[in-house]
């Protein structure tokens, strides 16, 4: 049972962190709970579908279907996070002003909630399909099923608790800093996803360059431990990164910074106001 708990918990940590960050980043927006719930629901549905067609997906593209799907899902999430960052840079100042006046009418429609819903959905889809397959294996396995299933359920619950922890942890940051903090978190999140995506492309045999390992910090901070996993999601920590992963990571961070800078409307005209 404990084994099942740990496996499921480890799989849901990443999605849990992302949901926590999205919830914190959208604080004060009416109806955001529904948006995030919709993302989780769609992601779960998607996870079920991916699990159902796991064999077909695995066999697609000369056996690289799974890797290509993972790379696409991660790539799409990166694009959505970039869109969100650009939008926030453009409208962030007015948003911050509205946040100060508590309860000010911040209409959900103005904010690209869809981008964040997609990010949540994709995170749940990617991690969830493995959980679904694992639990299916338990069910199909027979005898020790019920206790393992209980472990799986407890693992999910632990993941949800972790989401809550992330969310309330971020909430303790003063409102006037929360946009800056979540913007940085989202940029790091996206950079880590991009680094993961290129590794999947490498595993799929699509990319075959810069595959040399840069360093190995696994003896000090293993990526498959709990702390390593959390850092992996949060800042894209990788214990054995390849050159290409570092390039993708830095390129995404640079792109995010550039977007945040360029999207600010007419910087020059701000001064007189």
């Amino acid at each position: 049972m404990l084994g099942a708990l740990i496996i499921v918990f480890r799989e849901v940590i990443e999605a849990g962190l992302i949901i926590g960050i999205v919830l914190a980043a959208t604080r004060g927006i009416p109806g955001r709970g529904h948006w995030v719930a919709a993302g989780v629901l769609l992601g779960t549905l998607g996870a079920g579908i991916v699990a159902l067609f796991a064999e077909a997906i695995a066999n697609a593209f000369e056996g690289s279907g799974q890797e290509l799907l993972n790379a696409s899902v991660l790539g799409a999430a990166v694009v959505m996070l970039m869109w969100h960052t650009a939008w926030m840079a453009r409208h962030g100042r007015e948003m911050a002003a509205e946040m100060v006046a508590v309860g000010a009418a911040v209409t959900a429609g103005k904010r690209p909630m869809t981008a964040l819903v997609v990010v949540v959905g994709l995170a749940v889809l990617r991690e969830g399909s493995e959980v679904v397959l694992f639990l299916y294996g338990i069910l199909a396995g027979g005898a020790s099923g019920p206790s393992l299933l209980l472990g799986g359920a407890l693992g999910l619950a632990a993941g949800a608790a972790f989401t809550a922890l992330t969310y309330y942890g971020l909430l303790s940051i003063p409102a006037r800093h929360i946009f800056a903090v979540t913007t940085v978190l989202i940029a790091l999140l996206a950079a880590g996803m991009a680094a993961q995506a290129v590794q999947y492309l490498d595993a799929a045999g699509v990319i075959n360059v810069l595959g040399r390992q840069l360093w190995d910090s696994s003896p000090w901070l293993p990526q498959d431990g709990i702390v390593g996993r959390v850092l992996h999601t949060l800042i894209g920590y990788t214990d054995r990164p390849t050159e290409l992963q570092l390039v993708a990571y830095l390129a995404t961070l640079t792109a995010m910074a550039a977007l945040a800078w360029l999207a600010v409307p007419t910087r020059a005209r701000r001064a007189p106001a």
């Binding site: 084994g3 496996i7 796991a54 064999e55 695995a58 066999n59 000369e62 056996g63 690289s64 799974q66 890797e67 399909s129 493995e130 397959l133 694992f134 299916y136 294996g137 338990i138 199909a140 396995g141 590794q199 490498d202 595993a203 799929a204 045999g205 075959n208 595959g211 390992q213 696994s218 293993p222 990526q223 498959d224 214990d239 054995r240 390849t242």
Partner: protein, 101 residues
């Protein structure tokens, strides 16, 4: 020299192939010797009815192989050494190691 350089990509593209079987939540063989410094393709055949996840942090692989089906795992080029892998869904029994030499 030039011919050798031109010949390189095609030689590299032809990854060496190896086979691995999952049976009763165990890998057979548990030890796989592969050439160092080359791309290697491992065909993992899961003969169990349940899905398995071939996972290795050192090999940078995380791949689900559904029950009663085959999966292709591409690794390398590897530096000489031992690279452990597990079947994450049955980590107690499904263990193995790739030895690059």
């Amino acid at each position: 020299m030039l011919v050798a350089a031109l010949g390189m990509p095609s030689a590299q593209a032809l990854a060496q192939e190896f086979n691995l079987v999952i049976r009763n939540h165990k890998f057979e063989p548990q030890e796989l010797r592969v050439p160092a410094g080359k791309r290697v393709s491992i065909y993992v055949s899961n003969e169990d009815p349940t899905p398995e996840e071939f996972e290795s942090a050192t090999l940078k692989v995380e791949k689900v192989i559904p029950g009663k089906s085959k999966g292709l795992v591409r690794i390398g080029p590897l530096a000489p050494g031992r690279y452990e892998f597990i079947g994450e869904f049955n980590a107690d029994t499904a263990k193995g190691v790739v030895i690059a030499e």
